[in-house]
């Protein structure tokens, strides 16, 4: 007899100190003066968030018009863990700088050209510099350190048109763009604008477009028209390995 996997459920609840107690903790601010009425409002909000019973363990006035709450409560929602698929991990192997250099030499037979920039009004070059500068990040040297990678770091506040022109002029294989500022979704807007400009200028022959920044967790590459998004904590080695994977798919490290 076969059992369909859909029929096997694995129900889980949050864990405080006892299996199944479903206890969670939240904190928030309400724009009302501190007092018993504010606490009642906080409890009603907790209830609507699915915490039942809930208790306000701390409330504090922040000026005359705001109150801060810490609330504990029992979550009434259930999660079927069996129905949660494993998110995709890194789809390529992590290579050493030597392996990356060897791959480029073997398959490409010339230096791999990377252009990097912060675009739009974003002046925060820390991210792109961490990936590109020799100094690197988290103990790993940046792409400038890779003998077979030619790096052009254009720096901060580069116009999209300038980026496209420079990428074409040096025949870039890949363009790396970092975006930190998220106010009014500038990071998403700028990235889409850049992808559209490359599509228009280069068509299908456009370079690989890689975007990095701490706040791209709610979008996919295809939403933005780029090939890959890297988040917070990405190391230069991960980026270099990805470039080999995406640009030199025939190579394998064995």
């Amino acid at each position: 007899m076969t059992i369909s996997t859909e029929t096997i459920k694995q129900i889980i609840r949050p864990y405080g100190d006892t299996t199944g107690d479903a206890m969670v903790q939240v904190s928030f601010t309400l724009p009302v003066p501190h007092g018993s009425r504010a606490a009642a409002a906080a409890l009603q909000l907790a209830g609507k968030m699915g915490l039942d019973p809930a208790s306000v363990v701390h409330s504090k006035a922040m000026g005359p018009d705001f109150t801060f709450f810490i609330v504990y409560g029992k979550a009434t929602h259930l999660i079927d863990y069996a129905g949660i698929s494993v998110p995709e991990g890194r789809e390529y192997p992590l290579l050493t700088p030597q392996q990356v250099n060897l791959a480029i030499r073997t398959v490409l037979g010339r230096e791999l050209v990377v252009v990097g920039a912060c675009i739009g009004t974003d002046a925060h070059t820390v991210g792109i510099d961490a990936i590109l500068n020799v100094k690197g990040f988290a103990g790993e040297k940046g792409l400038e350190y890779y003998r077979e990678i030619q790096v052009h770091n254009l720096g901060a506040q580069v116009e999209v048109s300038e980026l496209v022109a420079r990428a074409k002029a040096c025949d870039a294989d890949a363009v790396l763009v970092s975006q930190v500022v998220t106010q009014k979704s500038a990071h998403l807007h700028n990235t889409k604008q850049m992808a559209a400009a490359f599509a228009e200028a280069c068509g299908l022959g456009r370079p690989l477009l890689v975007i990095g920044g701490p706040r791209f967790d709610t979008v996919t590459p295809s939403d933005l028209g780029v090939d890959r998004i890297f988040g917070k904590g990405t190391t230069p080695g991960e980026v270099a390995s990805y470039l080999v994977h995406a640009l030199l798919p025939t190579w394998s490290p064995s």
């Binding site: 000026g63 801060f68 009004t121 974003d122 961490a130 020799v134 901060a156 500022v181």
Partner: protein, 506 residues
């Protein structure tokens, strides 16, 4: 002194910093920039912008430059051409006057710029009056940031922060501003991760803080950023609108914003002359180096840069009480003795610059998203601050790196620092590192490395050191970066009434 530093080593470090700074000072004395010249016109009372939003000072300086060049400065040709209506000036034919015409133009320029400087002097006197009237808070001053992009949202947030305990309010600038080669005009309601620095925004915020200072019985200081391509003009506007502290580092723009080194050093000297006259405390940006470099390996680059900032500041007329030298609590908390290393560094800075209002910056690099661990790290930062007698504490946010601070983040951060001040505010008195112990040894090692580095910088030249990536591990060649085309060597007969008046002193 707790670290028992060898005074001869300290003196040597200062001598080397002075030697490294000298060629740069000479460069700054013999060159001007488009922004220095625009600042002269701002002091002379030129305000406003054309219909496209281009400030008149930019229009005028560009016109002078196109017609006769900037080698003689903008004051002579502009005041020679000035008739009754200043608006006619943009259509004027500029010439460099000679003889009696030159004398007359010089006198008129000096008188007009003198009125701007007199306004700066009045603001300084007003600040002293208000400090007496409302009261000057005890150090460490609590420094909080507001940054909504909209000056009319910033104002109530700044007032709320002052009521919650902030002594200093910094309005973070829009991230795009450092690379703009003009200062926007008027009150602004949209910016990216900050609010544009404009004369009107300065005026509005200063007035709002004066109001809340009266209410609280404590003078609330206002800070902005004299950095980027318009550093001299923003310094001037700060003096004209009675700002109290200005971020003004000698190398920050070069390293972190890729602004040309020569441009930065020329602009910086003029800005600091204004700050000196205005009684403004500058804040330097050494903390930033540690966001790219390792805070242990690069500790000596912070000290070296502070000594350079001190030398450049003194030369421009700043007194020790105006040198808010920066440093930061950025050592990886995973390494053993990280807190002791922080104490060694912070105490070293305190003892090297006993009269400077040191600005101590909270952890950012090792704030991981674990807000609870972050809150603990911020408490250790506050403790290191009071234990080593730091003067200005920028208050760390547990949500650093996640989002711009929420109201509750700021409130919790203030609760944290208030607790540490209450519980351990006077602990500096009891803090006596063991002679020859870990803290003392580490501080001496950092000082020795600083001397070695400054020795190399003095020999090779500061511009070469910057080009080699000595500071913030970022290489910036002397002819690279933005703004070099705005640097002009003085011709014989260059005239700048602002520099003349500032160097004469009040």
């Amino acid at each position: 002194m707790k670290l028992d530093l060898d005074p001869e080593v300290v003196a040597k470090a200062r001598r080397l910093a002075a030697r490294a700074a000298e060629p740069i000072i000479e460069l700054a004395r013999t060159h001007t920039t488009v922004s220095v010249e625009r600042a002269v016109l701002r002091l002379a009372g030129v305000t406003g912008a054309d219909a496209d939003g281009t400030p008149w000072v930019n229009r005028l300086v560009d016109a002078v430059r196109d017609q006769v060049g900037l080698e003689h400065g903008v004051a002579l040709p502009v005041f020679h051409a000035l008739r009754d209506d200043p608006r006619e000036l943009v259509r004027a034919r500029f010439t460099i006057p000679s003889g009696a015409d030159a004398v007359r133009a010089r006198e008129r320029a000096r008188a007009a710029v003198g009125r701007g400087i007199a306004r700066i002097d009045r603001n300084r006197a007003d600040r002293n009056l208000l400090l007496g009237k409302h009261g000057d808070p005890e150090p460490p001053w609590i420094y909080l940031i507001v940054a909504t992009g909209d000056i009319y949202e910033d104002i109530p947030q700044a007032q709320a922060a002052a009521r919650e305990g902030a002594d200093v309010i910094a309005v973070i600038r829009s991230t795009g501003q450092s690379l703009l080669d003009y200062v926007p005009e008027g009150a602004t309601r949209q910016g990216y991760a900050g609010t544009y620095a404009t004369q009107e925004n300065f005026r509005l915020m200063r007035a709002a803080l004066d109001e809340v200072s009266g209410e609280l019985g404590r003078y609330i200081r206002l800070t902005n950023y004299a950095s980027g391509l318009c550093m001299p003009e923003i310094a001037t506007l700060a003096g004209l609108e009675r700002l109290d502290m200005m971020l003004n580092d000698c190398m920050y723009g070069i390293i972190f914003r890729d602004i040309n080194p020569r441009r930065t050093f020329v602009d910086q000297r003029f800005s600091r002359q204004i700050h000196a006259r205005a009684g403004i405390v500058i804040n330097t940006g050494e903390d930033n180096y540690l966001t790219t470099a390792d805070a242990v390996d690069a500790a000596h680059t912070v000290i070296a840069s502070q000594l350079l900032n001190e030398r450049f500041g003194h030369e421009a007329g700043l007194a020790d009480w105006q040198l808010g030298l920066g440093h930061a609590f950025e050592i990886n908390p995973e390494i053993p003795d990280s807190f002791r290393l922080e104490l060694a560094h912070a105490q070293l800075v305190r003892e090297l610059f006993p009269d400077a209002p040191l600005k101590y910056m909270p952890p950012t690099k090792h704030m991981t998203g674990n807000i609870f661990a972050g809150y603990l790290l911020d408490a250790f930062f506050n403790l290191a601050g009071v234990l080593t007698g730091q003067s200005i504490l920028l208050i760390g946010m547990m949500t650093e790196g996640i989002h711009t601070p929420w109201l509750s983040d700021r409130d919790l951060a203030l609760e944290n620092v208030r607790y540490v001040r209450r519980a351990a505010g006077a602990l500096a008195e009891d803090f006596r590192p063991a002679p020859g112990g870990f803290t003392v040894t580490r501080a001496r090692q950092v000082l020795a490395e600083t001397v070695d580095l400054l020795d190399r910088v003095a020999d090779d030249g500061l511009l070469t050191a910057i080009a080699q990536g000595t500071f913030g591990v970022t290489r910036r060649p002397a002819d690279g970066g933005k703004g070099l085309d705005g640097v002009v060597a003085h011709a014989d007969g260059y005239y700048n009434p602002a520099t003349e008046l500032l160097e004469e002193g009040p």
